[in-house]
């Protein structure tokens, strides 16, 4: 309601009243309707109101300075006062506003406020509002100002508070605050980055720091980047310079600063490079000089460095002066040392030198002094010792030390050594000269002196050896007479050799002469008179030689004469020879006469003896020697005569004996009959030995000695048999006969008593005088006895004959006996051989027949077994389903069937079961008969077997109301080693039989341990433990006749019982066979009407490998190897290297027992799972149309691994259906060879569908025929992969077809002729 715009005007009478006639009317009634106005009311004249009105007009026009004054009284005065107040308040307000504006705008005093209005109400509110407005505007600004002040002061942490009190700023102010804050943020970030870079680069020296520009924008970014580029450039430059200076610091002067730079850095760079160049030049020069002076020794070199100044110049100068100094010094030193080396010790180093060189100089000078002193001293000693021969001189060098002292000492010791050596040699030679050869030089010496010493010593030794040798030879030859000795002096020469040779030749001459003489004497002594002394000799020796030679000649002629006579008489037998020796006398002549006499005597006697001897030799034994002789020759004569007489006698008896022996032996030959031979012997022998009675007794074969002697032949025995003395054929033994046989010795009875027995003839009889009993022996065994009796005595010759003849008889008899025995054996064996041959022929023929039959049987048996096996399988196969169905019917689960029908079904089931059982039994039996029943023994607890039979048969027994007991003996082993199945089978059979045939009572199974000794079976006898499982029942029993046959196949105790009791009758025979396989047997006992007992005996431990389980029956069949390995078609033939990866790499987690050999895989599964193939292939669905399910499985497996889901169609038609049903398929793998609708046709059909026209199709075909590809492409396939499929190839093709943008296909994929636009149907 305020109207501040209304001006308060002074009443101005000049103003036309009509100026605002309406205003009067429109004057605010509120103010005019004051109640006190009413008191003045009506008399206020208009003139009085004019100033008020004009003031009001002025007020209204905005002049707040106007006041109304001088208005009279009453209401107009009051109005004027009010008006003035209004104007004043307005003016105050306006002035305050102006002031505040001025303060704020002009002076920036933002804390200025409008002072309180004198008015109230609206005025106060207006002022407050205005102040608040200012406040609201100012406070953010002051915030901003504060922040900016802080920023200006470098404090970037301050932020504008976007809240004013509790209230959040809004609108422009909020934006202002935010903008400032963002600016500060950026600044902060920027400065932070810059600071960091600056700190890193500038302070810490970490070059390469970069300011982060993230979050910066606009100029900040440019600035930061500029800083970064500056920092990086600086970094590069500084680094490069640093690299170069580092290299320089390390001595590498080859580097140059190469970095780009400008301005000061460029200068720096150039300076550094120049520095490096100069340094290099300087270093090169210095190096060259140092190398020349130091290494190569070329003194005088100077460093030439151009363009250097300052320190470098000084340095160069120094180096040069150093080199110069060094050169002069070294040259001086070299000069002196050269002089020293050349033996001139007078030179001294004169050059100026300092430091070490000075030391060197003085040292060399001292050295030269010393050398000089030393050499003069040594020279003196050498002269004294060497030239003047004053041994014992010593060098005296004062003030030397070290090597010089050693050298002096050495010279002295040399002089000393020489002295002692020369003295020693002199001593020895003196001794030799005096004839004393025992001395040797003992002094130590070396070199030439040593040679001299050795030579002297050798000389002394040789002299000694020579003297010894000569002494030895002289002693041997002269004293001991050992001729032939020679002086052996080795290694001597010259005079010594001549001397030795002379001594030796002397000794040799003497020796040969003496030896020759000795030889001749020895020859004469040994009887060789042919030798003469022929050695050259002189003097006495010559006289000795001729004497000896004469003696030898005389002896020689005498001995040759005597020898001749002796040879003629003694050796050649020319008796009568006489020795004639001419010119001998004395002893030699007497000797010759004696020899001649001896020869003539001998001749007569020997001729007489020779005559007799030759007569004897000619068989004339009648002569005797008659010449008169004496002594030994007389004895000889008598002996010869006696000998001749004896010879005469002996020869006669021997002749007789031998001729008779030979004769009778010849007679006996060729006889085979003993009696004949005995007769022959007696008839010849008896008269031969002048016997008149003979008997021959033959010992029986194999009779003990002395017994069984049988009379087989006699001589003169037929005369008188009455007395019965002669032994009959059966007489055991007879006194002396037996004794002779036992004693194996001849018994001779002389002077037989008169009544011993009589030898009679037709005229009379008389007792014999003597009897002889001869045992016939062969190999110390008496074959028989011969008794002979004679009226006269048996002569020695006869007895000797008998003794010899008995041996002959023994041999003959034995031969005859042996012959006859051999003959009988031979004939017997011949007979037997014939018989055998006959038998063998028979056997052979029957054997052949048997073999034939056996072969037939084996074939038949195999046929039978095979037939049975096949038949039973064939029979069982339909039965299996029949049984199930019958069982289902009998169960009648739905209750459809009547009880009759259920009964029928049950019957069918039961009969079928029986039939199956029968078939099983037959099969078992045929297996056993064919030897194909396997036994698999293993450890088997007895309780397991018993539990089984308990569980199986107890319910049956209870059903039938029978008792059923199982008893186990105490010592039964708890564990068996046997075939559980087979054992159960036997027990099952026995127990079910027992139950079947028992109507009342019970069945008992008893397990006991028995001894295995009494069994026939080897397995039972040798078993450690034998178990007996006895099944005993109280059933109908079996008759004894039947009991024998119940184990035969198809037998029951009664043919009729089968009707009553059922069963096949095979059970027992199977059980018996199996018991045999288990190494045991079954024994049955029974009594009709009482019961039966079947006992199974088995070894507790089945010996290993009993019926040698058919090859490999025990071996485990390779786990899970499918019946046939089924390779993909031609998989073996198509194996490009590196194409088929090991299947394990893909399907490695498969059970290891499953061989993975037939499914192809990829070696690069990882590659197909990652990258582009991973993106493209994973999650795809594709269709495989192929009727080869193995291939499909293999592909499905591999594709599944890379994330592709496979749908399957067996035929082309199905493929179409599947494609129709599943529009999400993105590719088709189409086998070409499919039945019904082949691949080409199917592809064409797919292409015929507009929805599927662009579906990628890859054709697969088993035969990589040349035309296949074209045919497939022509039919509409996009690509073609040959079978067997190379997975990697297939995957790359699939990948390219599914993602054609990236056309970097496998290299082996040439672009297809028909460009397709396969739509990617994701």
């Amino acid at each position: 309601m305020d109207q501040p715009g209304i001006n308060i005007m002074k009443l101005d009478p000049d103003l036309p009243a009509s100026a605002s006639p309406t205003r009067e009317l429109t004057a605010p009634p509120g103010h005019l309707d004051e109640p006190d106005l009413t008191s003045h009311g009506q008399w206020v004249c208009a003139a009085e109101l004019y100033p008020l009105l004009s003031a009001m007009n002025a007020l209204c026009d905005g002049d707040f300075t106007v006041r109304v004054e001088g208005v009279g009284e009453g209401a107009p005065a009051v109005m004027a006062v009010v008006f003035n107040q209004i104007a004043a308040r307005n003016e105050h307000l306006a002035r305050e506003l102006q002031r505040v504006r001025r303060e704020v705008v002009r002076h920036g005093h933002l804390d200025e406020r409008i002072t309180a209005s004198p008015g109230q109400g609206g005025w106060a509110t207006s002022v407050d509002s205005a102040n608040q407005l200012v406040e609201a505007l100012v406070s953010p600004v002051s915030h901003v100002t504060r922040v900016l002040e802080a920023v200006a002061g470098g404090d970037l942490t301050q932020r504008v508070d976007l809240h004013d009190g509790n209230r959040e700023l809004r609108g422009e102010l909020w934006r202002l605050g935010r903008v400032v804050n963002r600016m500060v943020d950026q600044l902060s970030l920027f400065t932070g980055q810059l600071t960091q870079v600056a700190r890193e680069v500038g302070i810490e020296g970490r070059l390469g720091g970069q300011a982060e520009v993230q979050g910066l924008s606009g100029d900040w970014r440019y600035v930061t980047e500029a800083v970064n580029s500056m920092a990086s450039r600086l970094t590069a430059q500084v680094r490069d310079i640093a690299v170069v200076t580092t290299a320089v610091a390390r001595g590498d002067l080859t580097r140059q600063v190469t970095v780009e730079a400008a301005g000061e850095l460029l200068e720096l760079k150039l300076t550094v490079n120049t520095m490096v160049d100069q340094l290099r030049a300087f270093a090169d020069e210095v190096t060259r000089v140092a190398g020349e002076v130091g290494t190569e020794g070329q003194l005088g070199g100077r460093a030439q460095v151009h363009g250097v100044s300052g320190v470098w110049k000084d340095l160069t100068g120094n180096v040069n002066s150093m080199a110069l100094n060094l050169t002069s010094q070294v040259r001086n030193i070299a000069q002196v040392t050269t002089a020293v080396a050349n033996g001139d010790l007078s030179q001294k180093i004169t050059v100026d030198a300092r430091g070490e060189i000075l030391q060197l100089k003085s040292t060399i000078n001292t050295m030269v002094d010393r050398l000089s002193a030393f050499s003069s001293e040594v020279t003196r000693v050498a002269r004294e010792v060497g030239t003047e021969g004053n041994l014992g001189g010593q060098a005296q060098v004062r003030g030397v030390s070290g090597v010089w002292k050693d050298l002096t000492d050495n010279v002295n010791s040399m002089a000393l050594n020489l002295t002692s050596q020369v003295r020693n040699i002199a001593q020895v030679t003196t001794a030799v000269a005096n004839g004393n050869l025992t001395q040797t030089i003992t002094v130590d010496a070396r070199g030439e002196i040593l040679q001299l010493k050795n030579t002297v010593n050798t000389m002394v030794q040789q002299l000694r050896a020579f003297a010894d040798e000569v002494t030895r030879v002289a002693r041997e030859v002269g004293t001991e007479g050992q001729l032939g000795g020679r002086a052996q002096v080795h290694g001597v020469s010259g005079v010594w050799k001549d001397l030795t040779d002379n001594v030796n030749s002397m000794a040799g001459n003497l020796t040969s002469q003496v030896r020759n003489i000795a030889q001749v004497a020895t020859a004469v002594a040994q009887g060789d008179l042919s030798k003469k002394i022929d050695v050259d000799a002189r003097g006495e020796i010559l006289q000795l030689k001729s004497t000896i030679n004469t003696m030898v000649d005389t002896l020689s002629s005498f001995s040759s004469e005597v020898t001749r006579v002796a040879r003629e008489v003694g050796s050649e037998g020319q008796l009568g020879g006489q020795a004639r020796v001419e010119g001998v006398y004395g002893t030699w002549k007497r000797l010759t006469t004696s020899v001649n006499e001896l020869a003539s005597n001998l001749t007569t006697q020997v001729r007489a003896i020779a005559e007799v001897a030759s007569a004897v030799a000619n068989g004339d034994l009648s002569r005797s020697i008659s010449v008169e002789v004496r002594g030994e020759v007389a004895e000889l004569k008598n002996n010869v005569n006696l000998m001749v007489a004896n010879l005469r006698e002996t020869t006669r008896a021997k002749d007789w004996l031998e001729s008779n022996l030979t004769r009778i032996a010849a007679l006996m030959q060729g006889h085979r009959d003993l009696v004949e031979v005995a007769d022959l012997i007696l008839s010849e022998l008896t008269p031969l030995v002048d016997a008149q009675f003979g008997a021959f007794f033959l010992a029986k074969a194999d009779a003990p000695p002395g017994e069984g002697l049988e009379f087989i032949a006699g001589y003169g025995t037929g005369q008188d048999s009455r007395d019965g003395r002669l032994p009959g054929p059966e007489s055991p033994g007879r006194g002396l006969i037996a004794q002779a046989a036992v004693g194996k010795k001849r018994i001779l009875i002389e002077d037989v008593p008169p009544d011993y027995f009589t030898i009679s003839s037709g005229l009379g009889g008389a007792s014999p005088t003597s009897a002889v009993i001869l045992p016939i022996l062969f190999e110390d065994q008496a074959l028989g006895v011969i008794e002979l009796a004679s009226f006269s005595r048996f002569s020695e010759v006869h007895l000797a004959f008998l003794d010899q003849f008995v041996n002959t008889i023994g041999v003959s008899i034995n031969t005859i006996i042996a012959n006859s025995r051999t003959e009988s054996l031979l004939s017997e064996s011949q007979r037997l051989t014939a018989e055998l041959r006959q038998r063998s022929d028979e056997l052979q023929s029957s054997n052949a027949e048997l073999e034939e039959k056996a072969a037939l049987l084996a074939t038949a048996s195999r046929y039978k077994s095979e037939f049975l096996a096949n038949m039973s399988h064939e029979l069982r196969t339909p039965l299996n389903s029949l049984l199930i169905l019958a069982r289902l019917l009998a169960d009648n689960p739905d209750g459809h069937l009547s009880s009759q029908e259920v009964q029928s079904a049950a019957t069918i089931y039961r009969a079928g079961s029986d039939l199956v059982q029968l078939i099983n039994d037959i099969l078992d039996l045929s297996k056993i008969e064919a030897g194909r029943m396997d036994v698999h023994p293993r450890k088997l607890p007895l309780t397991k077997v018993l539990d089984y039979v308990q569980a199986t048969f107890r319910p049956l027994a209870i059903d039938r109301g029978l008792t059923y007991e199982i008893a186990v003996g105490e010592d039964v082993p708890r564990e068996l080693y046997s075939d559980e199945q087979r054992l159960q089978q036997i027990l099952r059979n026995l127990l079910s039989n027992a139950l079947k045939f028992t109507a009342a009572g019970g069945v008992e199974l008893r397990v006991e341990r028995v001894t295995g000794a009494g069994f026939e079976e080897e397995t039972l006898r040798s078993a450690e433990t034998v178990l007996a499982f006895s099944v005993k029942d109280t059933g109908i029993g079996i008759t004894p006749e039947k009991l024998a046959t119940i184990f035969e196949a198809f037998q029951q105790s009664d043919g009729t019982t089968s009707r009553k009791y059922g069963g096949t009758g095979l059970g027992l025979s199977i059980s018996r066979e199996i018991a045999g396989l288990l190494g045991g047997r079954i024994v049955a006992e029974s009594e009709v009407g009482v019961g039966s007992q079947f006992t199974l005996y088995v070894p507790a431990h089945l010996p290993g490998g009993i019926p040698a389980a058919q090859q490999g029956a025990e071996t485990t069949v390779p786990a899970g190897s499918p019946a046939k390995a089924v390779p993909l078609p031609d998989a073996a033939g198509y194996m490009p290297s590196g194409v088929y990866g090991s299947a394990d790499s893909l399907v490695g987690i498969q059970a290891p027992s499953i061989p993975d050999d037939t499914w192809p895989g990829t070696t690069r599964l990882k590659e197909w799972l990652t990258g582009r193939p991973g993106r493209v292939l994973s999650g795809r669905r594709i269709l495989i149309a192929d009727d080869d399910i193995r291939n499909v499985f293999a592909l499905t497996q591999v594709l599944g691994r890379v994330g592709i889901t496979v749908r399957y169609a067996e035929t082309g038609r199905e493929a179409l259906e599947v494609l129709h049903r599943h529009p999400d398929l993105s590719l088709v793998l189409m086998d070409i060879m499919m039945p019904e609708m082949d691949g080409y046709e199917t592809i064409r059909a797919i292409r015929g569908n507009p929805h599927l026209a662009h579906l990628p199709i890859i054709a697969l075909t088993a035969k990589a025929m040349p035309g296949d590809r074209e045919k497939a492409i022509e039919a509409g396939a996009n690509d073609y992969v040959p079978k067997p499929v190379d997975i990697d190839h297939l995957l790359s093709v699939v990948c390219d077809r599914l993602d054609p943008q990236d056309s970097s296909p496998a290299a082996d994929l040439p672009a297809t002729g028909k460009p397709d636009t396969p739509g990617t149907r994701a």
Binding site: S881, V1117, S1121, A1151
Partner: protein, 197 residues
């Protein structure tokens, strides 16, 4: 045999003899599941690729691909290897058949003639297993979806309490993982042969 089984499971019966298939169908019919016949190993494999099976009954003696080979192929393929297999064989089978069967990885080995009740019981065990696997799979799928949703929500709500959500998601992922391992465990589980024979 929960009455609330809404879906039928499939059982694959494989035999080359018609009668046996009839018998198996008669035995397994009362289970009320979908029975699929295969007359050979190849056919069985094809059927395996076309659909899921709770259990496979596989005759050993077949012309061509026999039971062992078929079972081995099924056990080798990743997508079919968890399907339990019961081998069926005549009673004159060599003793190593059972061993070979178990080595290939079959769950059970039954000798004909088969007791219908026994077979039905065994098959039922595998059906239960299959059902539970499917339930687990369904639950896992649900969880996966809800995790996906949560992730989506989390992404959209910027600046919200992310750690809390992340924790919850991690928890969920753990739960899914444990479910999955359970499922796999259940899939691998084979009934010990001794317990069934």
């Amino acid at each position: 045999m929960s009455a609330a089984a809404p879906e039928k499971a499939s059982i694959l019966i494989v035999d080359d003899i018609e009668e046996n298939l009839v018998a198996l169908e008669a035995v397994l019919g009362p289970l009320g599941q979908h029975l699929v016949r295969a007359r050979s190993g190849e056919e069985a494999l094809k059927a395996m690729l076309r659909q899921d099976f709770a259990v496979v009954l596989l005759d050993v003696v077949m012309p061509g691909m026999d039971g062992f080979e078929t079972a081995a192929s099924i056990k080798r393929l990743d997508q079919t290897k968890d399907v339990p297999i019961i081998l069926l064989t005549g009673n004159d089978a060599p003793t190593d058949y059972a061993y070979r069967g178990y080595a290939v990885g079959v769950a059970d080995f039954l000798i004909k003639p088969i007791d219908p009740w026994l077979l039905r019981t065994k098959v039922n065990v595998f059906l239960d297993l299959h059902r539970k696997n499917r339930q687990l799979a369904a639950q896992a799928e649900q969880l996966r979806q809800s995790v996906g949703r949560l992730e989506l929500m989390l992404r959209e709500a910027e600046g919200a309490d992310a750690p809390g959500f992340a924790d919850r998601i991690a928890e969920l992922e753990r739960a899914i993982h444990s479910l999955r391992t359970q499922q796999e465990g259940a899939g691998r589980q084979r009934l010990p042969p001794a317990a069934l024979s």
